[in-house]
Structure formats: structure tokens, C-alpha cells
């Protein structure tokens, strides 16, 4: 007997993120806060450097071959693109945290370490091709996010959000685990490839897949498993919301895609129809609920639910093109959604014991105060609504095209109609910024920290150009 040799180069970016997390954790020891002013941001700098390094490693490595680490983790093109989108979202969220976190917490090392651990969990989840690995990765990211959600401990809403997220999340983990157990029962294998090879049919696979859908559905905030999302998204510190609304979705979608592909023996029509109805329900519910929100953040939370519905369309299509579209949309979504949350975070006035939630009218008159910010926000809103030529439009185009191609035209119809509904509440924000009288607080100076400005600039640029330029990039990733 000898210990297995593992090719760690396959998970190099993940390792970089993990090691950075550990370094960040001891950053406080190396640079005690009180002793050295000006070095308070050392954890953030470290974390950002780690994320960028991981991103570069992913980018420069070229196409990933699909080699696996013991059949547990796979470095394939899908994982590569997921890496990129998660790292992008994480870096953008981190830029937001930079100036946001000091308003309410002194625990920087802990914050950034948990943040990086969540990132690592997402990256691992995207590479998981085995049930146990998948579950453990999912839990890493979930637990880190539960805590990050409640990180603003001076504020009751944060605690409530974290508790709800935790309870429902733990519940959903149970579903997922049960699903995995049933898969194992049916096939005696935990590796997805083996499960697929067994081609075992029958009740156990079906029930297992159903439970898996429920479990991942919770993480994706798919209706009717979305109840935690509005509270969690609203109560969490805004940078965390921005990051997790994209990162969790991305990783869970990849996992869902892999699982669905492995459960090949379950007739496609069965799970695809189930997913299609979930998708329809999700986008409709998310959009209708978003119409009536009075808080900007909560509105964006519901919009995020609706987008989970759109994203599911690509999985329903079940084709490589469908998932290419999902990945494409995730990139677009990372830009536009994080951008929107970035501006929401700038509009909040973070107090020490309570972050004043940005109401729907917080942006009123923004064009007069910070014209470029308003222009960027308008771009994010229009892109979220799917107006060309912004990134969101191309994302939807690809998603709906995949759906139409696989014969899900009615779902595409539902999708475009939902986009129209969503345009209404996105426009409300735009109306406020450009056409309404400034709100009562408009005379206050709106501070614009450099890091957040950079994040807004990057996301705005991405929203504007990604759709136009990146299309040739996304071909046949998911095969």
C-alpha cells in the first residue's frame, strides 16, 4: 500500500486562494492593527493579490485538459470558466468591501479569510465530479457565507438574515445529502462518471435527482426554495450580497449541470420539465415580487431570484450550447449585478450600529450629484433588463437561443415576457436617478472611495463591452 500521488497543479488556483486565506488570517499577527496605522488594509491587499494571482493562473494556464484528481475534482473548460467568473465576482466584491467593511467591523482578517474560504468552496464546487467532494465543497462555501451574512453584528437584520440563511441552508444540505445517498444506493458509486456509466435507472435515481434539485435549488434561490434569499441578501453586508449573488449561483449551477448530466438514466424529459417549471416559477415570482419592493437592496435581491430563473433556462436546454450560455450569462451577470450592488452600497450610509438600508428612492437625483455613477447604474439596470447592446442582452440571447434550439420555445417566451416585467422596476431606479427630484438626503456629500469607484468602473466597462466583444470566446466550453 502506498499513499496516492496527487497532481496538485490541477487545483493550483484553489490552493492559492486557500493559502491566501491562511495568510490573511495571520495578517493581524504580522501587522497588529493598533501599532501600525495605514496597514489596516493589509488583509484586503493580501486577499486581492491572492485572487488576482489565482485568476492569472487560471487564465494563463490555457485550456484545461479535463484531467481529474482521482476522479474527484476535474480541471476542465467548464471549471476554468467558472473559476474565472467566481474570481471576478470575488475580486469585485472585495473592492467593495475595502471601504465598506471599516464602517462596521474591525475584524478584517476574519472577514477576508472567510471571504476567501467561500471563494475556495465555490471553486472546488465547480470542479467537483464526485458526490462527497461536491457536498463538502458546497458546505465550505455555505458556512463561510452564513457567517459573512451575519457579519455586521451590530445590526439585528444581519443576525436575522444569517440565522434564516443558516437554518434553511442546513435543511437544504440535508436534501442534497439524501439525494447523494440515493444515488449511491442505486449505483454503488460516488463518482459522477461511474454513476453515469452504471446507467442505473429506476426509482432511486429519480428520487435522488429530485432531492438533488431541491438541495441545489435552495442554494440557487430557485422558487419555491427561495424564501431565505430576500432576507439574506438584504441583511448581509452589501459587498457580501454582491459577491454571493453571483458566486454561489455560478458554482451551484455548474454542480447542477454536472449532476444532471451524470443522472443520464433519468429521462431527460422528466428532469428538464421539472426544471423548466421551476425556472418559470422562479423568474415570474422574482420579478413580480421585485415590482413591489421599497428597498433598493431587496429589489435587487428579488431580481437576483428572477435571474436564477433565467439561468436555469440554460440548464433546462441540457445542451452544451445551453451551458455555454449559462456561463456567458454568469459573466455578464457578474458585471451588471455586482455593479448594481456596488452603487447600492455607495448609496447606503453605513452607521456604526445600523447600516441604513438604501431605499428605492435613495438613488433619486443621483444624476445631479454624481452623473457618472448614475450613468453606470442606468447601464446596470438596463443590462439587467436585457436591453441591447449591453451584456445582459447577449446573455439572454444565448440562453433563450439554447432553449429554443432544444425545443423549449415556451420557456423562452416566458423569459422574454419576464424581461419586460422586470424592465418596469429597473426603470423605476433609472427614473429616480435622472428624472425625479433629489431625495431629502441629496444635499449630503456622497463619498466615493477609490476602491469602490474602481469596482464600478470595471463593472460598467464590463457591462458595456463584454457582450459585444466576448462572444467568440464562448464556444463549446461545456462539451
Amino acid at each position: 500500500m502506498s499513499l496516492p500521488t496527487l497532481d496538485f497543479s490541477l487545483i493550483l488556483p484553489e490552493l492559492v486562494v486557500l493559502i491566501t486565506a491562511l495568510l490573511v488570517l495571520i495578517a493581524d499577527l504580522l501587522w497588529p492593527r493598533a501599532a501600525s496605522r495605514g496597514r489596516e488594509q493589509a488583509p484586503a491587499v493580501l486577499a486581492l493579490a491572492g485572487l488576482i494571482l489565482a485568476g492569472l493562473l487560471t487564465l494563463l494556464a490555457g485550456e484545461w485538459s479535463g484531467a481529474t484528481l482521482q476522479g474527484m475534482l476535474v480541471a476542465d473548460a467548464l471549471a476554468r470558466y467558472l473559476n474565472l467568473v467566481v474570481l471576478l465576482a470575488a475580486a469585485l466584491g472585495l473592492l467593495l468591501s475595502w471601504s465598506y467593511l471599516p464602517h462596521f467591523s474591525t475584524q478584517r482578517s476574519e472577514y477576508y479569510a472567510l471571504y476567501l474560504l467561500a471563494v475556495a468552496g465555490m471553486l472546488f464546487l465547480g470542479k467537483s465530479i464526485e458526490l462527497i467532494t461536491l457536498f463538502v465543497s458546497l458546505e465550505i462555501l455555505s458556512i463561510a457565507l452564513y457567517v459573512l451574512t451575519g457579519f455586521h453584528r451590530g445590526q439585528l437584520a444581519g443576525g436575522e438574515a444569517a440565522l434564516k440563511y443558516f437554518l434553511l441552508g442546513a435543511f437544504s444540505s440535508g436534501f442534497l445529502l439524501y439525494g447523494a445517498a440515493l444515488f449511491y444506493a442505486a449505483t454503488g458509486a460516488t463518482r459522477l462518471a461511474d454513476i453515469a456509466a452504471q446507467n442505473a435507472g429506476g426509482f432511486y435515481m429519480l428520487a435522488g435527482l429530485a432531492l438533488f434539485l431541491v438541495g441545489l435549488g435552495f442554494k440557487l434561490a430557485v422558487a419555491p426554495f427561495h424564501m431565505w434569499a430576500p432576507d439574506a441578501y438584504q441583511g448581509a453586508p452589501t459587498p457580501v450580497t454582491a459577491f454571493m449573488s453571483v458566486g454561489t449561483k455560478a458554482a451551484a449551477l455548474v454542480a447542477l449541470f454536472r449532476v444532471v448530466q451524470a443522472a443520464g438514466s433519468v429521462p431527460v424529459g422528466v428532469w428538464a420539465t421539472a426544471l423548466a417549471f421551476l425556472s418559470l416559477l422562479t423568474m415570474t415570482l422574482g420579478n413580480l415580487a421585485a415590482l413591489r419592493q421599497s428597498s433598493l437592496k431587496r429589489m435587487l435581491a428579488y431580481s437576483s431570484i428572477a435571474h436564477a430563473g433565467y439561468l436555469l433556462v440554460g440548464v433546462v436546454a441540457g445542451t452544451a450550447a445551453g451551458f455555454d450560455a449559462v456561463l456567458f450569462y454568469l459573466f455578464a451577470y457578474a458585471f451588471m449585478n455586482i455593479g448594481a450592488f456596488a452603487i447600492a452600497s455607495l448609496l447606503e450610509r453605513p452607521g456604526f450600529y445600523a447600516v441604513q438600508d438604501a431605499g428605492i428612492h435613495a438613488a433619486d437625483g443621483l444624476f445631479g450629484r454624481r452623473p457618472w455613477l448614475a450613468v453606470a447604474m442606468a447601464m446596470f439596470m438596463l443590462s439587467l433588463a436585457g436591453i441591447p447592446p449591453l451584456a445582459g442582452f447577449f446573455g439572454k440571447l444565448y440562453l433563450f437561443a439554447a432553449a429554443v434550439e432544444s425545443g423549449w420555445a415556451w420557456l423562452a417566451v416566458a423569459g422574454v415576457l419576464n424581461s419586460v416585467i422586470s424592465a418596469y422596476y429597473y426603470l423605476r431606479v433609472v427614473v429616480g436617478m435622472f428624472m425625479a427630484e433629489p431625495s431629502a438626503s441629496a444635499h449630503l456629500r456622497l463619498p466615493l472611495p477609490a476602491s469602490a469607484t474602481l469596482a464600478v468602473a470595471l463593472t460598467a466597462l464590463g457591462t458595456l463591452l463584454f457582450g459585444l466583444l466576448a462572444t467568440p470566446w464562448f464556444q463549446g466550453i461545456s462539451r
Binding site: M1, L3, Q107, T133, V147, A186
Partner: protein
Amino acid sequence: MPLLFAALALIALVGAAGVLLSRNPVYSALSLLLNFVAFAVMYVMLSAQFLGVVQIIVYAGAIVVLFLFVVMLIGGNLPALGRGRRAYVRAAGVILAALFLLALLFGLARPLPNGLAAVGAPDGGSVQALGLALYVDHIVPFELASILLLTAMLGGIVLARRYQAPPKD
């Protein structure tokens, strides 16, 4: 052996019932302990000694003790559990339990699925077999689990610390 199994099963059932029926949280916890121990012995009987012992160390030795710790810390004057619960909640519970029982019976009535038929190799639960499974076959999720624990620990520390607002400047 079947006799021993029956006895253990009975103990486990009594323990489980005790968890549900006890009005006193301490008794509930102790019933749970009984249940755990019965299962530990069953694991040993299935030649999964390691699992049996770990069941005792983790569940009996740590988790139930922490339950008790918390119950005592909160105080002895806990309102008796299960009072004031609505009728429909009870009904829902009963119905769900019945459904679960049905599902179990359904599962048992069917032939064993392929995956489970292969399981149960002799000595599959020995330390050696388990070690091989953990450190050779499943080393990746095993290592990931260490990250998970680190995350949980860090999270626990963050939440347990007294909140300190940053200084105003």
C-alpha cells in the same frame, strides 16, 4: 446474534421514543444517548468497529454532553417541551412520519438496489479498510473536509466574539 440485534434495536427504539416523548430536555438528551450507544454497538456487530467507537466519541462523548451543557446553562426552568403546539402541527408531524414509514417500507419491500447489493464486504468497516477509503480513495474530500472545519471554526470564533464597533473618526 439476531437476539442481540433485536435487543439493541429495542433499546434504540426506546431511546428514540424517549427523545420525542420526554417532557424534560435532559431526559430527551439521555434518551438520545441511549439511542446512539445502541447504534454504536450495532456498528460493532457489523464489524465496523471504528465507526462504532467514533459514534461514541463524537456523539455520546461530545455532542450530547454539549446538549446537556447548554440545557444546564440555560437553566432548569425550561418550559416543558411540546406544550402549546398547535393541533395541525401535530397532525402534520404524524402524517409526515407515516409517509416516511411508508417510504421506508416501500424501499425495503423492493429488491436491494444495485449500489447497496455490492456493499457489505467482510471487514469493510475495519480501521484498515476505512483508512484506505479515507486516505487513499477519498483523500480529496477528506482534505476538503479539513478546510470545511477550518471555515466552521473561524465562523464560530467570529460569531462568538463580542461585537466591537469600529472607532468613529
